[in-house]
């Protein structure tokens, strides 16, 4: 009994932890707090612990635990998310071991698993890790491709934090490939998302990364600014790790400003704190900064020691770029104390690593440093060669990169300055106006009176004009929106009641399975229609679902006497193209009910949607009796052509709003026999960027 109780309790705990992993407020600090003191006695718990270590940068612990992951049998895991997590962590493990191929193979499986489960967030996570693998391999295009996929899926998922994490990864990618501007842009987007979610932990991380990027670009003011924000956030959730990491950045900024002694006052204790946390990347960074600090304050030996410690941490956490930086620094230290041999050796190491990982930015610093070393050695030819490489790089990149960086990162500053300028100008103007007024008062009161009357008259005329115009445009807008709602295709009530009658007939036949199948399909359809018909646009995958449910219902109604086929270009679904809800429905209904698909043999209706000449082309084809025959049968068909008119009008409205050339064409499928019908609807291509676009707008400025 007690055993059962304990089991139940631990089960509930696990369930809560899993839930937490998929929440928008998820953060590694709280996650590890929740995990402390819990025993890793179930497969789920073991996997969660591994996940925690990877999130918190505990590489040694992670590598140790993750190496045991394969011993956990998949059958022993009864939760899909945990299974997914296990796959991801195994890939992360391969990645850290430099087994990129294995990592990618694993991720391929993780993606297909997540897709099978229809979990967009999981797919996104897998793609995000994919991107990270390519980043480690220094393959820029692939890294970009996969993070963009991850972003697409993140946008589709309900978890917005995942989107932020993807944007962050994208920023990391750009930063590694020296595109600081893009990196900042992406990180600002990520920041906006987590700000909206109130996720303080990530607000802290993202602010800090922007500060780091600013520091790299040499904008100390912005760096300090964002670091302050990050510090504020870390204090709010009192996370030790975040505080310590902020300390490292603070140290870097202080060194750049030339205050090594300030750094020595706090950094050593921060390093001690980090050692407790076992975060290897941060430790490596901290020791590297400490090395720089000692060097700046003239303690050369201590500096070299610190750099060596840093190297071991970076080696263990597999950070070749960072290692190269450290070698470069060590080289510089040796150079400054005229140990030219060691200087050459270390800088060459840095160059080799940077060459290996195809680093294209900092390697030139190393060229320059090496040139200095050779110059000091008196090897003029070599010194000249490396100097030339350095200057070549400068010539090529100085204009583009530096101006980009400056433009981007000082953009906010300049905006503020512009605002300030406008303010002072306004003040000036007002002062001038006042002076004028006083002058006028003094000169002629009568004239003033008249001019005021004229001014007021003029102003009120102008404002009345504008108000009226605005009201008119508002009115127009409202009217067009309203007519859009009115025009929005509604499911024919006739269809709904007929479907209900079919359910009734199933009940009379006493076939509960069929009844239930039909009822479920039909109710899903009604739900989709209720949810989506009031919207101006829906995504194509939802439209596809509506159409397939609708056609399935019709098919069941007519006892499978016709077939249907919906073919939608994957690209459209992937890029989240938009379509007015059920714009095709009247034509499909027409095909079925008036094309008499259910009365002929092999009746089939085909719907395709694809992009054509930058437009969304929807084609509805049926092999029914054809228009002329259907027309002949009922001459006075006024209300069916109403659907046609409504559709034409909807397309017109869309054309006006999106300046497109949408059209509607109806033709015979078989021109000679005059049988079958083909309806072609062309609509302006619209993608669901609105939500994301608003983020972009706010930063593009």
């Amino acid at each position: 009994m007690v055993c059962l109780l304990l089991f139940k309790q631990s089960f509930a705990q696990e369930a809560e932890l899993i839930r937490f992993c998929e929440e928008n407020r998820f953060n590694p600090t709280e996650f590890s707090q929740k995990l402390t003191g819990k025993k890793a006695n179930t497969p789920t718990m073991r996997i969660l612990k591994v996940y925690e270590k990877s999130l918190n940068g505990n590489y040694k612990g992670f590598i140790h635990d993750a190496s045991m992951l394969h011993s956990i049998k998949n059958q022993s895991i009864n939760n899909a998310f945990i299974l997914h997590l296990k796959q991801l962590e195994e890939c992360e493990y391969s990645l850290l071991n430099g087994e990129f191929y294995a990592a990618k193979k694993g991720l391929e499986q993780a993606v297909s698993f997540a897709r099978k489960k229809h979990e967009n967030q999981w797919v996104s996570q897998a793609y995000r890790l994919y991107s990270k693998v390519y980043l480690y391999e220094n393959k820029k295009d692939s890294a970009d491709l996969f993070i963009n996929r991850a972003i697409e899926f993140a946008k589709r998922s309900t978890n917005e934090l995942e989107l932020a994490l993807c944007l962050h990864q994208s920023a990391l990618n750009h930063a590694q490939f020296s595109n600081i501007q893009e990196a900042v842009t992406q990180e600002l987007l990520a920041l906006q998302v987590v700000e909206k979610l109130n996720n303080t932990y990530y607000e802290c991380i993202f602010n800090r990364f922007i500060a780091e990027l600013s520091l790299d670009a040499g904008n100390l003011r912005e760096a300090e600014n964002y670091l302050r924000k990050s510090q504020l956030k870390s204090r709010r959730i009192s996370s030790k790790r975040l505080k310590l990491e902020n300390d490292i950045l603070r140290a870097r900024i202080e060194i750049r400003k030339g205050y090594p002694n300030e750094v020595l006052a706090f950094l050593p204790s921060s390093v001690k704190g980090l050692e407790q946390l076992k975060d290897y990347i941060s430790l490596g960074e901290a020791w590297m900064v400490l090395g720089e600090t000692y060097n700046a304050s003239g303690q050369v030996n201590k500096s070299l020691e610190a750099f060596n410690t840093s190297l071991t941490y970076f080696e263990q956490s597999r950070q070749p770029e960072k290692m190269a930086s450290v070698y470069h620094q060590i080289g510089l230290v040796h150079l400054s104390k005229k140990d030219l041999q060691n200087a050459e050796k270390n800088i060459l190491k840095a160059i080799v690593i940077r060459n290996n990982i195809k680093e294209r930015n900092r390697i030139y610093e190393s060229y320059f440093a090496l040139s200095n070393v050779y110059a000091a050695q008196g090897q003029k030819q070599k010194a000249f060669d490396y100097l030339k490489r350095h200057t070549d790089f400068l010539r090529r990149n100085s204009f583009s990169i530096d101006s980009k960086k400056i433009e981007d990162l000082t953009q906010t500053n300049s905006r503020e300055e512009r605002e300030r300028l406008i303010e002072t100008q306004e003040e000036k103007l007002q002062k001038e106006l006042k002076e004028k007024e006083i002058l006028q008062l003094q000169s002629d009161r009568q004239l003033l009176g008249i001019s005021i009357v004229i001014a007021i008259f003029f102003l009120s005329a102008v404002s009345v004009f504008f108000i009226v115009r605005q009201r008119n445009t508002l009115q127009e807008q409202r009217e067009s929106e309203m007519s859009q709602t009115l025009l929005r295709s509604q499911m024919n009530p006739h269809f709904i009641f007929n479907a209900l009658a079919v359910i009734q007939s199933y009940i009379y036949e006493n076939t509960p399975e069929k009844t239930s199948k039909f009822l479920v399909n039909f109710s899903r359809l009604i739900r989709l229609i209720l949810e989506n018909s009031p919207k101006e646009f829906i995504t194509i995958d939802i439209e596809k679902e509506i159409l397939s449910k609708y056609l399935t219902t019709q098919k069941l109604r007519f006892e499978d006497r016709f077939n249907f086929n919906i073919e939608i270009d994957e690209e459209l679904i992937f890029r989240r193209a938009l379509i007015p809800p059920m714009i095709t429905q009247p034509f499909i209904e027409n095909s079925i009910e008036h094309g008499q698909l259910h009365t002929i043999e092999h009746g089939i209706i085909e719907i395709t949607m694809k992009e054509r000449f930058g437009m969304l082309e929807i084609v509805i084809t049926d092999n029914g009796v054809g228009r002329s025959k259907a027309e002949k049968i009922k001459k006075k068909k006024s209300h069916k052509s109403m659907a046609l008119e409504i559709t034409r009008e909807r397309i017109e409205i869309m054309n006006k709003k999106y300046k497109g050339k949408g059209s509607l064409t109806i033709e015979d499928l078989d021109v000679k026999q005059k049988t079958g019908t083909r309806v072609i609807i062309c609509l302006p291509m619209i993608y669901e960027n609105t939500k994301f676009g608003s983020y972009e707008k706010s930063t593009d400025n």
């Binding site: 024919n492 009530p493 006739h494 269809f495 709904i496 009641f497 007929n498 209900l500 009658a501 079919v502 359910i503 009734q504 007939s505 009379y508 036949e509 109604r557 007519f558 006892e559 009910e593 008036h594 008499q596 259910h598 009365t599 259907a630 049968i633 009922k634």
Partner: protein
């Protein structure tokens, strides 16, 4: 034994209506051979049914199209429809019967029973003509008044007023005729209130066009052009005068 024919484009529905009718244990034989206008006409000519259940919306036309093409309509007609507001109003004006999908077995049974009871009476095309007329217009509709003996088709403008007598309604026409119909005044109120008729009192529905004057005596009454006086309910006074202003 009466012959019943069901015409509907869904086989499933035809079978199910048959099943329902069979469960009533009436003295009828049910045929389910019509699935559209074409085959519907063919089956009517072949089977010569006494009663026809007719779907309105069919792939190759409507039930009304079918009726127009059947020359000798010697059957009782009951429409089956899922949703067709405009048509239902026209059917009601023409005093024809209809049932709604999904189908209530009580309604179906009543409609069928009524049809069986009247099968042996003489059929007149005037009722179907009125239906055709009513389907085409919403303005000057013709109202079919079915009595025990015959079928009257009247223009709305011929009706001066209606008076309730329990479950029956008296129609007073401008040619002095008085017709008794076995339907409630309430039924006619719902049909006629959007066509210039107003219920001035519990048992009186009047055509506003035939009002001569309002008499204040004895609590107030409306004098019609044929000289008849109709009491005006105090509760309806305000509404009545506002209706008059709109004329």
């Amino acid at each position: 034994m009466k012959k019943v024919l069901i015409i509907d484009d869904e086989k499933r529905i035809r079978d199910f209506v048959k099943r329902m009718i069979d469960s009533f244990n009436l003295d009828v034989e049910v045929f389910t051979d019509g699935e559209n206008v074409e085959t519907g006409i063919e089956s009517i000519n072949r089977i010569q049914p006494d009663i026809v259940f007719l779907d309105i919306q069919m792939p190759d036309g409507t039930g009304f199209d079918l009726l127009n093409r059947v020359k000798d309509k010697k059957f009782e007609l009951i429409f089956i429809t899922a949703f067709q507001e405009y048509a239902i109003m026209a059917i009601k004006f023409s005093a024809l019967d209809y049932i709604l999908k999904p189908i209530d077995d009580e309604e179906l049974k009543t409609a069928l029973q009524n049809a069986i009871d009247t099968v042996d009476f003489k059929k007149e095309d005037s009722q179907f003509e009125a239906l055709t007329h009513n389907l085409q217009t919403n303005q000057k509709r013709k109202l079919v008044l079915k009595t025990q003996e015959s079928v009257h088709v009247v223009d709305l403008s011929e009706i001066i007023r209606c008076e309730a007598d329990k479950n029956y309604t008296f129609f007073y026409l401008n040619n002095g005729k008085k017709i008794l119909v076995s339907r409630t005044l309430k039924d006619f109120e719902t049909l006629l209130s959007s066509h210039g008729f107003f219920r001035v009192q519990q048992s009186h529905l009047i055509n506003l066009e035939y009002i001569e004057r309002y008499d204040k005596h004895e609590g107030g009454s409306v004098i019609m052009r044929d000289g008849s006086a109709v009491p005006l309910s105090p509760a309806k006074k305000d509404q009545f005068f506002s209706m008059l202003e709109k004329l």
